[in-house]
Symmetry: C2
Subunit: 235 residues, 2 copies
Amino acid sequence: MLRRGFQAAVILGHHGARPGATHLLPRFNPASAFGSSMESLVSRFCQEMTEGKNYALPNASWGPDMLSLYHEFLEKTKTDGWVRVPSFRSNRDHIRGFKLPLELSANSDKSDWRLFTRCIEREGQGYEYVIFFQPSEKKSICLFQPGPYLEGVPGFAHGGSLAALIDETFSKTAYLSGEGLLTVNFNIRFKKHFPPDAAGRGFISTLDTVPSGKPTDNHLAYRGPTAAQGGVPKK
Amino acid sequence: MLRRGFQAAVILGHHGARPGATHLLPRFNPASAFGSSMESLVSRFCQEMTEGKNYALPNASWGPDMLSLYHEFLEKTKTDGWVRVPSFRSNRDHIRGFKLPLELSANSDKSDWRLFTRCIEREGQGYEYVIFFQPSEKKSICLFQPGPYLEGVPGFAHGGSLAALIDETFSKTAYLSGEGLLTVNFNIRFKKHFPPDAAGRGFISTLDTVPSGKPTDNHLAYRGPTAAQGGVPKK
């Protein structure tokens, strides 16, 4: 497992949209696209599927601390209204019945499409993560264990790999909250590298995503703190 | 190939570093680590290697427009001082003789480490890119052709996949400029989605990275415009 090199504070926002400026990103509201409430959106998105691997379930590469946190949040799905967000090879397999605006409609070719954060299929080598979503607070926690295919500086996860996972967590949170789909802005400030005595041990990050800004035009428009923090020895 | 969904304007900066705040990211200057000039740093980094695949070279998946731009910049390496930056499976294979500060020194285990932006080995499925660096201007251009493993919204590249490549381009530019290694801040504003009539066709982005800020403490400290733009039909 990689050492995680940083703590990150992240804000996704709709900063800098000038009054009168042309918005080139399409307006889109997932809840209204379904003509349904957030509850039914979440229910539809998170229902069990029999076909296709759900990458949000534990596998043999998960360290004991990742598993421990996973079970802690799994308990919360029974008692505190949290939802474990399933994760498939492609959003095409996932968002059934999902109607995108015409300008975003996907072609139907037979390419081997993969969700970027699930592009590495070998267990433990790339992203191992699971997102838990709290509908009443429109908040998510992402448990994350990086593997050696996410390397940047030798021994450390690539800053871009964390950025991508943060973007994915925000996107899913925004989608499930019925507040948007596409990232407009995102700002990351890396604050800390991970201490050297964790070399070769597992690492778990939690991304606590609390959207507090109100989108102005159905784009993703978040202003909330996100912290990737931790550093739990694998054994 | 994926449609590329956005134009991006990016600034990497050292914003918000408060006077007196503890800097937790290690101070590091590649040029001083080598005890050498930028020229020798670039020369060492960009020398040909006989072993290991150089992913910055064209392969059969590159579309005609990607190839055309590649050859255009290759000409500039002969006439205008541009340097084609090689790219290997891991920075461990690349940065030979590279001495990191103690707190960043990599362990020497035998894991299958891979640079995140080269984690997908199947040609044309993930990242296809090459960075050209202009030493006198401390500027880079990244030619980029995304594949179907970089998907976010069906049919579009994941915003995080572009963020990661921008981070990689900035990091390499900063490293070769002798100005840093680790990203402190990065801010992305996605401005435009790619028009629908490009469905299923290739797309090429150029990342024009011009560092204009002076780093204050050998961290990556950039303030420069970066535009990912284009949208060239594959055929």
